[in-house]
């Protein structure tokens, strides 16, 4: 029952809010209610169900990593929903926004709880296409453009995805997602299938080199929408990967290396590109890309074997949890500085600071855990070049700090209201701050064995006060902060762009478009040529018409007929016929 409510309530909420007139409150509350089942499922263990009637026989259940992610998603949607309720209260298109918002929510929950291919794909698609409405929401030309690119990329992804699913299901012989990783591990074309999936979901994850739609689309949406886009939905791709990846069952060095290297490229590269943006939301989008890079790395390690899935996947989920909540906090935060004034600003800055630190993995935050997890697994893995990766990880901490401090700097440039005010949507933000994943307790979500594994059985507190880990976590951040401060202090180093970004958002896109433009033109021309050729192609009936409707034809046949009617010719005909028949009869 609750499983269906998880999906149905958001849909109901969507329809309900769609009809809610602009300016009326309460939509936020409705959304919160809609997320309750999901939150419940996220916290409590509920045994899965089978829906004989649904699609191609639906199954719904959860395992630890997906429960963690569901919890994250629930929290984010609740916060964002509440936020939007007041943030967009007087907006003319609120109803429409709520519709797409709710639909997307349903999709997002559904894909997390569904345990078999068809329904997973269903909700994945629902989420993808419904969020189009969120991206295009503002109807500005840039938003339309972003939405178009988003859609194209989404369909591109879907195609790879469905192919991967066809092949996977065929080799697994079952629609259950749980059966797929083992099957892929066995199947000769397993790596190929996984590669297809890697691309298909990679679009959603924003993995290199498919990420370029993301810095356009995420900022285009209004703050609550981008919060869930960047905090929750981006993880859907990750879930997809987890479903396909036979972690711990196989050794696919090449794929694993590929993922790890791509992951690090994303982590560092996106951070660097993000720094030189001028729009805080774009900056955050890049940060999301870089963070997803880290998770890509983790999964990549898993494909090298040696690490059991039960260890790795929850770790990834926890990382996602931490990043998601923090990122949502920051995204929602982008709406604040222009509205929050006076003493409230202290609270605001504090919250934003926590968010930043959590992502950067500072001590006293959940980020510490997650970073430590990554470090542990990187240390464990027998993947060639493990040490370099450790180094890169440390470096990434620095870049992340730089990136996010740059974000704070960008926010700081926004002009604050003079008087001492807090908008109504400040409250949900605070709630999210409280519910966030940076509390050191968040590892409690992890399965005990993983806990013990990390804390060497000494329990959370011991780990938490371990000086070494804290130091390891601390110094890169400090370094980053110092660098940022210096660069801002001294004009000579202050090469941060202010008006327009050094690199346009969606960097790679521009190259692609530049390169693809002539190709596309050529293609379009070719197709239209073919089309016109087909149109002008003389089809049989046209030939016939031309023949039969022609004056000349009728004239000719008429004269031939008159000829046949002349007595002389009849006589000749008679004679010939006579002779022929005579010969034939002889």
């Amino acid at each position: 029952m609750i499983w269906f409510l998880t999906i149905v309530l958001p849909l109901l909420a969507a329809i309900l809010n769609a009809f809610l007139p602009t300016g009326r409150r309460g939509s936020g509350l409705i959304f919160v209610i809609a997320t309750l089942p999901a939150l419940w499922l996220g916290l409590a263990e509920v045994s899965g169900v089978t829906a004989q009637w649904f699609l191609l026989e639906g199954h719904f259940s959860l395992d630890t990593p997906r429960r963690i992610l569901l919890l994250l998603t629930g929290i984010l949607w609740a916060a964002a929903g509440l936020f939007s309720g007041s943030y967009l209260k007087d907006d003319a298109r609120r109803g429409e926004f709520s519709f797409y918002f709710g639909a997307t929510m349903a999709g997002n929950f559904g894909l997390l709880i569904s345990a078999e291919v068809a329904s997973f794909y269903t909700f994945f698609a629902l989420m993808t296409f419904a969020s189009y409405g969120l991206v295009i929401y503002s109807r500005t030309p840039s938003a339309r453009r972003a939405a178009r690119i988003y859609l194209v990329m989404a369909i591109f992804g879907e195609l790879f995805l469905i192919t991967a699913l066809y092949l996977a299901v065929q080799s697994a012989g079952s629609m259950l997602l749980a059966d797929i990783p083992p099957a892929l591990a066995q199947a000769p074309n397993g790596p190929f299938i996984f590669l297809l999936g890697l691309i298909g979901f990679g679009v959603k994850v924003g993995a290199v080199p498919l990420y370029f739609w993301l810095p356009l689309a995420h900022p285009a949406a209004p703050a609550p929408a981008s919060a869930v886009l960047s905090g929750a939905m981006i993880k859907a791709g990750l879930v997809g990967w987890m479903h396909l990846a036979p972690v711990g069952l196989v050794e696919w060095p090449s794929l694993s290396l590929l993922m790890v290297s791509l992951g690090f490229t994303a982590t560092l590269g996106a951070a660097i590109i993000g720094m030189v943006q001028v729009d805080p939301k774009t900056n955050l989008a890049y940060s999301s890309i870089s963070q997803m890079g880290v998770m890509t790395v983790l999964l990549g390690i898993g494909l090298y074997g040696g690490i059991p899935a039960v260890m790795l996947l929850p770790a990834i989920a926890l990382y996602a949890f931490n990043h998601g909540t923090a990122k949502a906090l920051l995204f929602l935060g982008t709406a604040l500085p222009a509205k929050v004034g006076g003493s409230w600003r202290l609270l605001m800055w504090a919250g934003l600071g926590i968010g930043v630190l959590a992502i950067a993995g500072a001590p006293l935050t959940g980020g510490l855990w997650t970073k430590y997890l990554v470090k542990t697994f990187l240390g464990e893995t027998t993947l060639p070049g493990g040490q370099t990766f450790l180094l890169l990880l440390t470096l990434s901490a620095v870049t992340t700090t730089l990136l996010l401090s740059r974000f704070l700097h960008l926010l700081h440039r926004i002009k604050a209201p003079s008087k001492n005010v807090a908008p109504p949507f400040f409250l949900p933000w605070i709630l999210l701050l409280l519910a966030g994943g940076w509390w050191t307790m968040s590892p409690a979500l992890l399965p005990p064995e993983l806990m013990n594994y990390i804390t060497k059985g000494k329990g959370i507190m011991a780990f938490f006060w371990n000086r070494l880990t804290n130091w390891d976590a601390l110094w890169p951040i400090t370094l980053g902060v110092v660098l940022m401060v210096l660069s801002l202090r001294f004009a000579t180093f202050n090469w941060w762009p202010t008006k327009k970004p050094l690199l346009p958002p969606g960097d790679l896109l521009h190259i692609i478009l530049r390169a693809g433009d002539p190709v596309a033109k050529l293609l379009r021309k070719g197709i239209s040529l073919l089309d016109s050729a087909m149109k002008s192609l003389l089809s049989p009936e046209k030939i016939f018409y031309r023949l039969s409707d022609d004056k000349r034809t009728s004239k000719i046949s008429a004269s031939a007929e008159t000829l046949l009617r002349r007595w002389e010719f009849v006589g000749i005909g008679f004679f010939i016929f006579f002779l022929t028949l005579f010969i034939l009869l002889r």
Binding site: L56, Y166, D531
Partner: protein, 498 residues
């Protein structure tokens, strides 16, 4: 075979008799006419339901009338036939409602509804026909019954379209005639399902059988709009919306597709067809048609023309599925009979309502129409996503089966074709959706032709919504027993057990 029952005949009569009666009515007796129509439609649906129930109980309904030695008119009830009959009768009911609303105050309504009924009679006859010659009879009957509908408007455009329509269909019919006679000469009277007859002949006269197969294919391909023979379909778009809807969703194109299914599974038998590898050419043709139709559709600005080209491409899914050996693929093909039908009819209804309500015939005029006709365009959008093959809409199910079937059969190029067509579908359908929902209406065109308390006249609205819901439900509840999918699976499995 000997148990003769009049029920099949009755099913035909349930639309034939109203049709004839309507022909005898006066033009202005519209109430009585509508009553006859609906009565016939409902009667047909319920009769078919009754027969279906009986069939599932294992009863046999067969009606046989011998015209001449070796030339029998046979109506026979089997699952595939019932499947198709159900589709056509249900959609007929819906379309009748729609047509009554659509033609309100139109000309020559007597003629229109009369031939409408005859047309559905023909397609039910095709569904229930028990042997090749009966099939042929109804196949031709269908051609004739649809002609007055195509030229209904009587404009020169319509009339010329009708000319081309006949040019193709009669041509196809003639070729089919050749094939049918040839088959009779070769194999005697062939009842559907008696695949052993052909199987026994395969040893000595294989070449003739091959030739015959392709003659048949040419004959059926015309109505199924397979590539070189498809041109009539977009041209006959001049017909009124209900006609195009019925033509595309049920009657004509499906007659062709259904014929191909019968030919491959019930006349030749999948075994023989594979053994003589007759299927590969069919598969290639179908695949090409799928892509070709989609590409042509990209360039149409006329709403119905675009839909027509999409039909060209979508119907070939059926042929493609038939041509891929394997239960999954054929299940996909058979279920697509229904799924394509309900989705496409939704689209045509929507197009018709838009044209009737706001006088928009071009896609470039549709900006913001979604705001003004939310329900209609909502249904349309559902159908669009179905066509693209997105879950949980009907189209996804058939595409899923086709794809899995292709993978199973190891013909990966088919998967590529499916993907390509999905992409193209998106490319030519999503712009419509985009205009409808995300573009601001350009305000000089909001003049409304027909006004009503709802977004349009109720009789135009209800059918769209209903079929839209059908196409949603057919997907969402696909796993339920009695859903199109489940029936299609049973049928396909039967074929492969034989």
């Amino acid at each position: 075979m000997e148990t003769t029952s009049l029920l099949p005949l009755l099913i035909l009569g349930s639309s034939l008799i109203p049709g004839v009666l309507i022909l005898l009515l006066r033009e202005d007796q519209s109430a009585l006419r509508s009553f006859l129509n609906l009565f016939g439609a409902v009667a047909k649906v319920s009769l078919i339901a009754w027969v279906f129930a009986g069939y599932l109980r294992g009863e046999e309904y067969t009606f046989i009338f011998r015209l001449a030695p070796q030339l029998t008119f046979a109506l026979q009830v089997d699952q595939l036939g019932l499947f198709f009959a159900t589709l056509s009768s249900v959609l007929w009911l819906v379309t009748t409602l729609y047509a009554i609303g659509y033609l309100e105050g139109g000309q020559h309504r007597r003629r229109f509804f009369a031939f409408f009924s005859l047309c559905i009679t023909a397609s039910t006859g095709i569904a229930l026909s028990g042997n090749v010659v009966t099939f042929f009879i109804f196949y031709e009957f269908l051609t004739l019954a649809t002609y007055p509908l195509v030229v209904h408007l009587g404009t020169d455009k319509a009339v010329n379209a009708g000319r081309t329509y006949l040019w193709y269909t009669i041509g196809g019919g003639t070729v089919l005639f050749l094939g049918v006679v040839g088959l009779y000469v070769l194999a005697g009277p062939v009842y559907f399902g008696q695949t052993e007859i052909i199987a026994s002949l395969i040893s000595e006269n294989a070449p003739q059988l091959t030739i015959l197969f392709f003659v048949f294919l040419a004959g059926l391909g015309v109505k199924a709009a397979i590539f070189p023979l498809h041109s009539w379909l977009p041209i006959s778009m001049v017909a009124p919306a209900p006609v195009s809807a019925l033509l595309h969703a049920v009657a004509v194109v499906k007659a062709g597709a259904f014929g191909i299914i019968r030919l491959v599974y019930d006349v030749y038998g999948i075994g023989v067809a594979e053994q003589m590898n007759l299927l590969t050419p069919l598969a290639v043709l179908a695949a090409f048609t799928i892509l070709y139709g989609s590409i042509r559709a990209l360039f149409q600005d006329d709403f119905k023309k675009r839909l027509a080209y999409s039909t060209v491409s979508q119907v070939s899914y059926i042929a493609l599925g038939v041509a891929i050996p394997g239960v999954l693929a054929s299940a996909g093909a058979i279920v697509h009979l229904v799924h394509q039908g309900i989705m496409k009819i939704t689209m045509f209804f929507a197009a018709g309502s838009v044209a009737e309500t706001y006088g928009h015939y071009k896609i470039s005029e549709l900006n913001g129409i979604g705001r003004r006709m939310p329900l209609t365009m909502g249904a349309f959008t559902t159908a669009v996503f179905g066509m693209i093959g997105l879950p949980p809409i009907a189209g996804f199910v058939s595409k899923w089966y086709l794809g899995l079937g292709a993978v199973e059969a190891g013909s990966y190029w088919v998967v590529l074709v499916l993907l390509g067509s999905s992409a193209l579908n998106a490319a030519y359908f999503l712009p419509i959706v985009y205009r409808a929902w995300f573009c601001e209406p350009d305000h000089e065109r909001v003049s409304r032709i027909r006004s009503g308390r709802l977004e349009t006249r109720a009789l135009l609205l209800i059918p769209v919504v209903v079929t839209g819901l059908f196409s949603l439900a057919a997907g969402v509840f696909a796993a339920l027993a009695g859903s199109p999918l489940s029936i299609a699976r049973e049928i396909a499995e039967k074929f492969y057990l034989l």
